[in-house]
């Protein structure tokens, strides 16, 4: 796995964007990601749609490599940790999670995260509706911004559609950033892309397997 990084200034902080769908906040040693949707493949299977669990294993493997690479103290998931109701994928995840017992884990609840606080606590996740560190506010979906606060969110699975010469198009996942908001791409590879942007004056940091590009 080729990890490409790019540091950007967001509010008063310096954040490291990666081409692997996570963000690293060095000052707080926090790894931030969104929309991992654990349980999605089994949920599809339960409804008669054959999507292999290999998809999930691949997501977990990628996350494992990233945690080892950045060795963070904190893991912040800004929502949609789980996709739907409890299923066998959860057990796989819980088992996998044991290797990171020492890691502080924070979950900002997303629209898919409907379980009891006790359940998340049992996995070692502190849940919050939103969480502020210094001037950075972690939320699931973009909210009304307040002065001097900078928002990091997920939820929309941002992507960017780029028109090249000769009517060619490219669609890539991206981080969307403006002066006060930063939207993370979905971490799971089994997610679609939303190319409609709600943000104004947005910069898109799109990425591929070996590059980060700014549009």
């Amino acid at each position: 796995m080729n990890i490409v990084t790019k540091d950007i200034r967001f509010g008063d902080e310096v954040l490291t964007l990666t081409n692997q769908r996570v963000l690293f906040w060095k000052k707080q040693e926090a790894l931030v990601l969104s929309d991992i949707h654990i349980g999605k493949t089994a949920h599809f299977q339960q409804h008669g749609i054959a999507i292999p669990d290999t998809v999930l294993l691949k997501d977990l493997e990628r996350l494992q490599v990233l945690i080892q690479y950045f060795s963070p103290k904190k893991l912040i998931v800004v929502g949609d940790l789980f996709h739907a109701d409890y299923n066998q994928n959860f057990d796989v995840f819980v088992q996998w999670l044991q290797q990171f017992d020492g890691l502080e884990k924070i979950l900002i609840r997303g629209n898919h995260d409907r379980f009891s606080t006790a359940f998340y606590e049992s996995l070692g996740f502190h849940t919050q509706k939103q969480q502020q560190y210094n001037t950075l506010m972690f939320v699931h979906d973009a909210v009304q911004t307040q002065e001097d606060t900078f928002y990091i969110s997920g939820h929309i699975h941002p992507g960017v559609r780029i028109q090249m010469k000769g009517r060619q198009y490219l669609k890539l996942p991206c981080f969307q950033v403006n002066s006060q908001q930063l939207i993370l791409p979905a971490f799971s590879l089994f997610t679609g892309l939303n190319t409609r942007s709600e943000l104004e004056n947005v910069r898109n940091y799109a990425f591929t397997d070996d590059a980060i590009l700014e549009f």
Partner: protein
Amino acid sequence: MTKLEQTEGYRIIHNWMADKGFSPFDFQLKAWKKYAQNYHGLVVAPTGFGKTYSMFLAVLIDYFNHPEQYKKGIKLLWISPLRSLAKDLQIAMQTAIDEIGLDWQAAVRNGDTSTAVRRKQERNMPDILLTTPETMHLLFSQKKNSRWFKNVRCVVVDEWHELLSTKRGVLTELAMVRLRSLSPKIRIWGVSATIGNLEEAKNVLIPFKDVKTTIVTSKEKKKLKIISLLPDEVELLPWAGHLGKQLAKSVLQVIYENNTTLVFTNTRNQAELWYQLLLDEDVDLAGQIAIHHGSIDAKLRNWIEDAINQNLLKVVVCTSSLDLGVDFKPVDCVVQVGSAKGIARFIQRAGRSGHSPYEVSKVYFVPTHTLELIEVSALKEAVKQRDVEAREPMVLTYDVLVQFLVTLAVGEGFNREETFAIIQQTHAFSYMTKDDFEWAMQFITKGGTTLNAYEEFHKVVYDDEKELYVVKSRRISMLHRMNIGAIVSDAMLRVRYLKGGHLGMIEEYFISKLKVGMPFVLAGRILEIVHIKDMTVFVRRSKAKKAITPSWKGGRLPLTSYLSHYLRLKLNDALQPSTRERELKFLNPLLTTQQAHSHIPKSDEFLVEKIQAKEGCHLFFYPFEGRLVNEIMASLIAYRISKLQPITFSIAMNDYGFGLLSDQDIPVTEENLKEILSKEKLMDDMIASINASEVASRKFRDIAVIAGLVVQSQPGARKTNKSLQSSSSLIFKVLEDYEPNNLLLRQAYTEVFNEQLEEARLQEAFDRISKSAVILKEAKGYTPLSFPIKVDGLRNTMSNEKLSDRIARLQKQQYKILT
């Protein structure tokens, strides 16, 4: 054996017809006789000659002669591709039944039938059931459905030519073998228009070796008159274009000379524009003009169809949505705007006018650009020869197989061995191996072949007690029933007025580009969006004068190979037109220009034009093979030239030819063109020149929906299955990564080769080119042949670079972000 004419049944029917002043056509009599002799078969006759009666009355005669063989429940199943056909047929049949004094009941069952009526039917099935292939499969998915089909004596598939080359045809084939397994004495008949491969069509519908089959063809031929509308001077017609608005006045004149006119266009977008064009030209048409296409609400369409029949409308602008369907008595004239792209389609459209048997069908052709006139001339020739396209049946459509197996499991459950034997009887799956079938079983029971990867997958399970494969989950049954069928549409939103009243459907893609308040056109009205909710766009009338017309995807059909053959022949003698070739004579000045500046290819020549222009060096090729094949040829040729020296091309194509544009000189000579156009290593080069996986991923969309891998959200539906939403391209990627042996993937590639790349046609084209003399002409400016390609050919870029290379190139380019 008694002659049919001496039987009681014949006498009853004959008397009933005589009372009405009719006597049977020869082909009807022949069909009745063959039916009485226990034949299965195909009836081929032009519309308006009573194809329906040939089969419907055959069954009645048989009943009167052998009433003891008929039991309670459905006796005749009538399957037609169109819902709208059923209503009128049912009325005609019931009227006949009542007049004859029989106690039978004919009833319709399709997607429009209310739940109450459906429940009533399930308790007490009518004697004749008129339905669609999809509804047949829905019936198969009901509990204890086989009791309804045990006593069916005859099944008729109407408009079989329309179903034949589609996956709906495969659904129909599967229905036939299942019906025969439930009612072994059933007789299967198809009704078809003339197509190039009738014998094959018959054998696909009736694939059984142990029955007698026949084709009954009517001698009656429909007379057809083709008139092209020409402007006063050739200069008035543009060299390129697709609207043909210069001729709106002439069309108006035609409309007033006739009682009711249907104006056919090729796309919904064109229909909306022509509706406005005609209204702008003459405001008095308001109230007498209507617009009809596939995206207009069904209720509105029904109303329009009724209004045509009641003679309330002067003109209806329409698309292929009116190609088929009920006969409109008042229609006496048809106008075709732009190329009809195929001979069969053109004849079918023409047949919409002058409907009673001996009337002449009149069709006016409106060229949208000059060269289309050659096409009319080609069409006339083809119609004269009655040389109509063949329709190729589809085979090994694993998506339909998977769907059918689940349908059976949702219904009564199925036995593995028996079902394999039944399915293998169909033409579509006659080459299916045991391994293929086992894969499908694995797919619906285990999810895939990767061990332990599908632990929560229990779609179809084996029931030890019943010893059958069944679906136990009610939710899966429900999702599957919603998904039955083989018609896959783009994500569509329903459009309705804020105060109520549905207008039609519109692609999500188009709506996503509009903002609230922006005016757009649908169903001939200028509307603006108020808000969007539950897959529904709420609109109100807009006061704006100008508005955007949506362009629906699809609908742009390529020229068929039959028509392109005639096109090349006509071009061959275009310079010396016979006195009766009005179109070619009209075109003469233009063709002379072409000949003077370049060349007109004879039928044994292949023309290549090289033109140096401001934007770079153009190379134009004219295979006349239809847009899709031309596109493939273009990237293939571009690939071969790029092997001579590194070069990047922009590609443009239309139905006639394609052009390559480069910023550097393109190094071709008549000598190396021979190499470049060679038929050697054709498939290898083709695979190298296109990004097959990208094309296959697009093809996979329909397959994923039919096989139940993608859940379609129904337009207007309150509840969307949001947690089950995923795109087919995402699933394609997942399967390519983790289940490369999945047969649905293989099917996507096969479909690309057969349909998109039209492998056989491409091969043929290169064969022909290799036998032709290649002529390279350098022209000073654009020629009449090249201009339309340059101006409005569809553009593309030849690229077989990797994503990272494309990105690198992108960074040097000017680009635009689309939101």
